[in-house]
């Protein structure tokens, strides 16, 4: 069998934090200013060439809920890892991301994940301090600012997940 490994990766986070934009940037290398909300799930595929193997990341871009209780945890079934996304200009979305992580861990146990603080290009409105970031990293988490507009941190995050979910 020469077929590549398939790994389901979920995009998780509050609404309008940029999950769909991050996928678009990563898979199609494009960015759009306009906001289009996601309903249900949107599936995309990205092939990642690692040193010794090729991985197909099957990206499940899950709708961001404003009410965390209406989040469908079942959509994570079979996920190999996930990308937690928060909006660095809206501190409340970091809380949403952290409680989503807790729900996932309670349901599926520890899974590889990365935490992206998105919209890092909006420096004027940035509301997450470096000490907060450092505090999250102290937990041993992979935490990076990212920007779907500029591409900052995007490639690295997915690649890191590809490595961790296949090793």
């Amino acid at each position: 069998m020469t077929a590549a490994l398939q790994k389901k990766i979920c995009m998780l986070g509050g609404f309008s934090v940029g999950k769909t934009s991050l996928v678009k940037r990563y898979v199609h290398s494009v960015f759009s200013e306009s906001y289009l909300t996601t309903v249900g799930v949107k599936i995309d595929k990205k092939t990642v060439d690692l040193a010794d193997r090729t991985v197909n990341l099957i990206l499940w871009d899950l709708a961001g809920e404003d009410d965390i209780n209406s989040f469908r945890i079942g959509n994570l079934r079979g996920a190999a890892g996930y990308v937690l996304v928060a909006d660095g200009t809206r501190p409340s979305t970091l809380d949403v991301a952290l409680s989503l992580r807790e729900r996932v861990e309670a349901e599926y146990g520890p899974l590889p994940f990365v935490l992206l603080l998105n919209k890092s290009d909006l420096t004027e409105q940035w509301a997450v301090s470096d000490t907060e970031l450092a505090g999250l990293r102290e937990r041993g988490w992979w935490v990076q600012p990212s920007s779907a507009r500029t591409g900052e941190g995007v490639e690295d995050a997915f690649k890191d997940l590809a490595v961790r979910t296949t090793s």
């Binding site: 069998m1 077929a3 398939q6 790994k7 389901k8 609404f15 309008s16 906001y35 289009l36 909300t37 309903v39 249900g40 799930v41 949107k42 599936i43 995309d44 595929k45 197909n56 099957i58 709708a63 404003d66 469908r72 079942g74 959509n75 079934r77 079979g78 996920a79 190999a80 809206r90 409340s92 409105q125």
Partner: protein
């Protein structure tokens, strides 16, 4: 279903199949695709091959096989082709069935509603955030303002209050700019200040001088004068800028200030003497009215708000010819204040830079409402503090003062007799060293 008539059941099956674009996949326990049908092309699955791994051909299956739960469904999944489908999974006799039902239209309708709701929430969040920023900025502004107020309050002590006010209210620009204005200028100087304060410690001198300047400045301010500067023990004040009530009113205000200062100085001298300062402060005052250049002088880095010109120099000169305790004014000032003060002409003087004849006038008293002269008596020296403003005393006080003065004259006369006798006994031959009479100078 059993209760439905056969034809309706068939119709429903047809409806669902077409309206929902039903498609299915059949996967065996080796996870190979063993069957497929329905509207596969609707979901971009037309090219799938039977007998090959299912996950490679329908990527949404990744991670879901083998089934952990049956039946199992995932609503509204947008596939790579752009169509949205509800995915239904169930296991039957070792075969996993995957059914796809198209929900693109419903998905789009839900999206429109959800979009509006989220846009609204985002706007509210934005508004709240902006409000917080506004509040934060307000607090910062308030803090900056407090800081500026504190700083400007400190600066204010280095400036005449009127100058400070006109700069900080924005009326005046801080640029090198002067104007020609008719001012009344006041100069005062403490007679023999150095000799007077010779026996005092520097701290005592500072204290005395500061008290003197504080008191005099307060009087100047009360009368609307601009305290220009302190030069050693000298004081320069002008009237007519930045605020003016007209040349005549400014001159009158200046004279009222000067006489007020004399009165207050008499009180201060009594106080200082009782506190141990032997020598009183005796102050000469000079006043002139004329056109001066007033404004900011100096460099862009360091400016002084002041008045300059020959008329200013004249005021200084008049001060030097005044007897201690007296006010000498120019004719120009006198002409404006003759209804409120009585003054006597002195011999004319020549002043550099002024071509006209300068006749100084020494102020001899103030005039009451009816134009009557009221002399004010003020003498201060070792052994005497005397100040009398007849307007300020009532009938009973007048009687007491008369009695006191009478007793005082008798005491002085008696002392005179004693002194002569002593003098004669001590040095009968040397007449030149005889103590001269020490009668108080009256004004």
């Amino acid at each position: 279903m059993e209760s439905l008539p056969a034809s309706l059941a068939e119709r429903l099956r047809e409806l669902t199949f077409n309206e929902r674009s039903v498609a299915y996949l059949e996967i065996d326990d080796a996870l190979n695709l063993v069957g497929a049908g329905g509207h596969l092309d609707n979901y971009g699955l037309a090219a799938i091959r039977l007998g090959e791994p299912a996950v490679d051909q329908a990527v949404f299956l990744a991670g879901l096989l083998p089934l952990e739960e049956t039946p199992f469904s995932v609503p509204s999944v947008e596939l790579e082709c752009g169509r949205a489908a509800d995915l239904h999974f169930y296991l039957d006799a070792g075969i996993v069935w995957v059914v796809l039902l198209d929900v693109t239209a419903e998905r789009d309708a839900t999206r429109r509603l959800q979009q509006k709701a989220y846009d609204m929430t985002l706007l509210q969040e934005k508004e709240a955030q902006l409000n917080r920023r506004l509040e934060e900025m307000n607090r910062e502004l308030e803090a900056a303002n407090d800081f500026l107020v504190r700083i400007s309050t400190k600066i204010s002590h280095y400036l005449a209050p009127q100058i400070y006010k006109s700069i900080f209210s924005g009326q005046k620009d801080v640029t090198i700019h002067t104007e020609r204005k008719e001012l009344t200028i006041f100069f005062s100087d403490i007679k023999d200040f150095t000799a007077t304060t010779e026996g005092l410690q520097p701290e005592e001198i500072t204290h005395l001088l500061n008290e003197y300047f504080t008191e005099m400045s307060a009087i100047a301010l009360k009368h609307g004068g601009t305290v220009d500067k302190f030069i050693g023990d000298a004081l320069v004040i002008f009237f007519g800028d930045p605020e003016t009530k007209g040349t005549a009113e400014d001159a009158r205000a200046c004279l009222n200030m000067a006489t007020d200062m004399q009165r207050r100085l008499a009180e201060l001298n009594v106080k200082w003497r009782s506190a141990g300062t032997e020598q009183p402060f005796r102050v000469r005052m000079g006043v002139n009215t004329g056109f001066c250049n007033v404004g900011n002088f100096g460099s862009l880095d360091r400016m002084d708000y002041t008045a300059i010109g020959a008329e200013v120099n004249l005021a200084a000169r008049l001060q030097t010819i005044a007897e201690p305790g007296h006010i000498v004014i120019s004719y120009e000032t006198y002409a404006l204040v003759r209804d409120i003060v009585a003054a006597r002409a002195l011999p004319q003087i020549a002043v550099k830079g002024i071509s006209r004849t300068v006749i100084p006038y020494v102020v001899e008293g103030v005039l009451d409402e009816t134009g009557r002269k009221i002399e004010i008596f003020s003498e201060h020296m070792t052994g005497l503090d005397f100040y009398l403003d007849p307007r300020a005393v009532d009938a009973a006080a007048r009687e007491r003062i008369r009695a006191t003065l009478k007793n005082a004259i008798e005491a002085l006369d008696a002392r005179e007799v004693d002194a002569r006798a002593e003098d004669a006994r001590a040095e009968p031959r040397d007449r030149s060293k005889r103590l001269r009479p020490r009668s108080p100078t009256t004004k």
